[in-house]
Symmetry: C2
Subunit: 497 residues, 2 copies
């Protein structure tokens, strides 16, 4: 069957991606360098993500707060590593007023005494607030999240993946014991992993970063990775158990149960709109966007086929149908049905629904009305076209959506598994990365990499390297393909975004 | 009964307000000048407002999008009035990088060619995007809202009422006919007015601004006002029907049904976190914060009274109770119950619940367990203390909350009505505004005010003046107290925030 976008993924992956973004009304370049205009399609997905994550956060005892956008430079400077990381790519506010002349001008009088940085991340200002809130162990834990915009003036390496400004949530928790902080870190890792599997239908792999890859101020760093359709890895999420490092530089002290003064134990983690990028790149096919029903704000599009004789009758049927379906509960919220009654050719309406990734398309014409039914097309299989009794649709709608959700997940798992290849010799490893879109490689490797492996990986452009929990349970011992040492450790090597 | 805060509202209104904010964990000053740290209590209220408004927006066919935080100065300059309004109070980004030396420094190499302004409002960049999206009348209407942070570097005149950064939503719609745009304006006025009355329990008054008070680029400006407990008026919301003014400066053109090129008809409107300020100032009493149940994220706090002998038994009872109540549907969402099982004196727990404005406080001790009941205290009447059978509480919980919501609204209506006084002579008018917290004055006044009235009002500090729809239906004609002309127009005069 003719697909609706050319080029297809195989023909030209980048142009295909651009077409998906355009046609599903997701985003576009803005007049502000390296920033994007986030269009309704993208925001709707982000809102669905927020809805489910925020509910989970609250169920696990967390609260939201909001801290200032602008951070004094001196705050960033509290941590050497921190300022080194962000100062070279930050937007700096220097003036608080413009002077009117022929044009509006910057004048020294209205220069700020200290430059303010548009937050690239908020830990410094958040820990500073916590320092004021905590006196005793009774004030802990502090379990706070912030939904916000952040800005990093980095070169945009890939369209809509990295933009100067993006939306995210950042968690910063403080605890009175190491044990509790570690428990929090692992609990939330699981929350996100489940969310990505169950809602986003992405078969992610989680792992703990090796010492050389973790953030400098973290004691442990965890990460969740996914495979994209060009076989590159995308980091979907990171979290840190920070020990007392940040508490020390921000002076978050408390009196413990024994009356001694101690620094708090802190954790932090993030997800950003980048997760949407991963969602698009995981599921979309040659017919544009595919959204798992659980993360799609709109579930059904009804397309009326009308002519001047039957218009009222067909539209009445459609609006009745919408009303019935709208009231059905799905995934803790309600079904959302849209009717496309614009005056364009039905084929155009159909492709509109397809390219926006709406899970179910219902076609209504005379035939369907006569039989009190609908013609149902599933987005993931646009050649499907089943005449379904209206009554059956109603009673099975949730099952149909669940079935689609499972199908999309299974498809992604299938893709992932097919594209993780096991390799057991260095020669094959080198050969493998000469391919254009090399699959993930899983191989026995010693986790210590002081063997010149870094050089080789750089040369092969296989710079992503992680030790997923999933493939490291009860492995037998084998030979590391790099060092010939015995190891029971399996590492995934891949290219990455 | 001894109240929990001193001073009371009568003793010292400002200190009372500060105490409410502190103790309910709403906000605090931040280290960034004129910015506040928005604490969980405040964010929770804002999220409730977002939840209900956003639902309404979507039901009325609107969508959310997100536009860049930083706006090029040249965009602001497109409209003379616009840049004049905002340039004198804006945060200006001039550099995109800092250089490392002994300290981190601004250097000319990394100065931006054009300054970027942290958005004080987004119309210029939003209209610019619309101009690209619209070709034909078929592309209209565009019904888009943005939830965002904005920044205005104005002097902070009142704690947490005006801060440099605040959160808001801004609507910008574009239509193909004047009629449709006007209909949208009036429809949304009603949506907000209903929201404020039904959810926030604030008996607001809406009106259309007179020509001299409306925004320079608007054709019609509407506003919604409320009376605070010190009898000052607070503007809760504004909206504009903009005609084709903004479309012209931003070049939003479309081909109409007759094939002619035409500028779009646009509207815009806003609400900000200032609405929370109004909510606090309307309902709070000498026992701290009062929240209408519909806007309170937490509905019930359970306070267990335990000793070492009965701890397990009491806590089990409380958690069982929570589980039962949690599942009850209220106001389209679920009841949220918290248990305070911290190890502090019960009185402290009780006052904690009171000052946070949680609508219902349930006290549980042996007595309540024996009778399978709870002791119920209503926040709006902390001397109430009714022993209620658990079964009755469950089946009547929604009714109890509705009753409280109505009661709070009625109390606010009572306050409003008591504090609008009718005056029919200029002498009384002048005398009235010599009072410390003068009530709103409602009087027959000619709407044309070229009679030196401005001077007088300024002198009396009665600078707020509006013609509410509510008091201007079918008035008989009387004499204007300022001009002696006949008029059927009633104006409210007051002090304002």
């Amino acid at each position: 069957m003719k697909t609706a976008i050319t080029p297809t993924r195989n023909e030209d992956f980048s142009s295909w991606y651009q077409a998906v973004i355009n046609w599903a009304s997701l985003a576009e370049n803005s007049p502000v360098r390296w920033c994007m205009t986030i269009k309704p399609g993208w925001v709707a997905i982000w809102e669905m993500m927020q809805k489910f994550l925020d509910k989970k956060f609250k169920e696990t005892g967390h609260e939201n707060a909001y801290f200032p956008l602008l951070i004094p430079l001196s705050f960033l400077e509290k941590e050497a590593e921190h300022v080194e990381g962000f100062a070279p790519e930050c937007a700096v506010v220097t003036h608080h007023k413009l002077k009117k002349g022929k044009d509006w001008k910057l004048v020294p009088d209205w220069k700020l005494e200290e430059p303010l940085i548009v937050r690239p991340t908020s830990e410094t200002i958040i820990w500073d607030a916590y320092a004021g809130w905590v006196q005793s162990y009774r004030d802990l834990p502090i379990l706070i999240n912030q939904w916000a915009n952040v800005m990093r003036w980095e070169m945009r390496t890939r369209l809509f993946l990295r933009t100067s400004e993006f939306l995210w949530q950042e968690w910063h928790t403080a605890h009175s014991t190491e044990e509790e902080a570690r428990e929090e870190t692992m609990k939330m890792l699981k929350v996100y992993e489940d969310f990505m599997k169950d809602y986003l239908a992405i078969p992610v792999l989680s792992w703990e970063k090796t010492p050389e890859e973790r953030f400098p101020w973290a004691v442990n760093t965890y990460s969740v990775e996914a495979i994209m359709q060009d076989n590159k890895a995308l980091q979907m999420w990171t979290s840190h158990y920070l020990g007392q490092n940040f508490a020390r530089s921000s002076n978050i002290k408390f009196q413990n149960k024994d009356g001694e003064e101690e620094y708090a134990y802190t954790t932090s983690w993030w997800v950003s709109t980048r997760m949407i990028w991963g969602l698009i790149m995981t599921h979309s096919d040659d017919n544009w966007l595919v959204l798992p029903p659980k993360i799609s704000s709109k579930h059904i599009i009804i397309i009326p086929f009308t002519n001047s004789d039957n218009e009222d009758k067909v539209l009445d049927y459609c609006y009745d149908l919408k009303k019935e379906l709208d009231s059905i509960e799905y995934n803790e919220w309600k079904i959302w049905v849209v009717i496309d009654n614009s005056r364009v050719w039905w084929g155009q309406k159909f492709w509109n629904g397809v390219r926006k990734g709406i899970p179910l398309i219902l076609k209504i014409w005379e035939k369907e009305i006569e039989k009190d039914s609908v013609s149902l097309v599933k987005r993931i299989d646009i050649e499907s076209n089943d005449l379904v009794l209206r009554e059956n649709l109603k009673s099975n709608l949730v099952n149909i959506l669940d079935w689609i959700q499972d199908k999309i997940y299974a498809r992604a798992v299938g893709y992932r598994n097919k594209n993780i290849v096991e390799i057991d010799s260095l020669e094959d490893f080198k050969e493998h990365f000469k391919k254009e879109n090399p699959e993930f490689v899983l191989c026995y490797s010693d986790p210590e990499i002081d063997d010149g492996r870094e050089e080789l990986l750089k040369e092969l452009r296989a710079t992503s390297r992680w030790i997923p929990f999933e493939f490291n349970e009860n492995n037998s011992e084998k030979t590391c393909i790099f060092t010939w040492k015995k190891t029971n450790n399996k590492i995934i090597y891949s290219r990455a975004y």
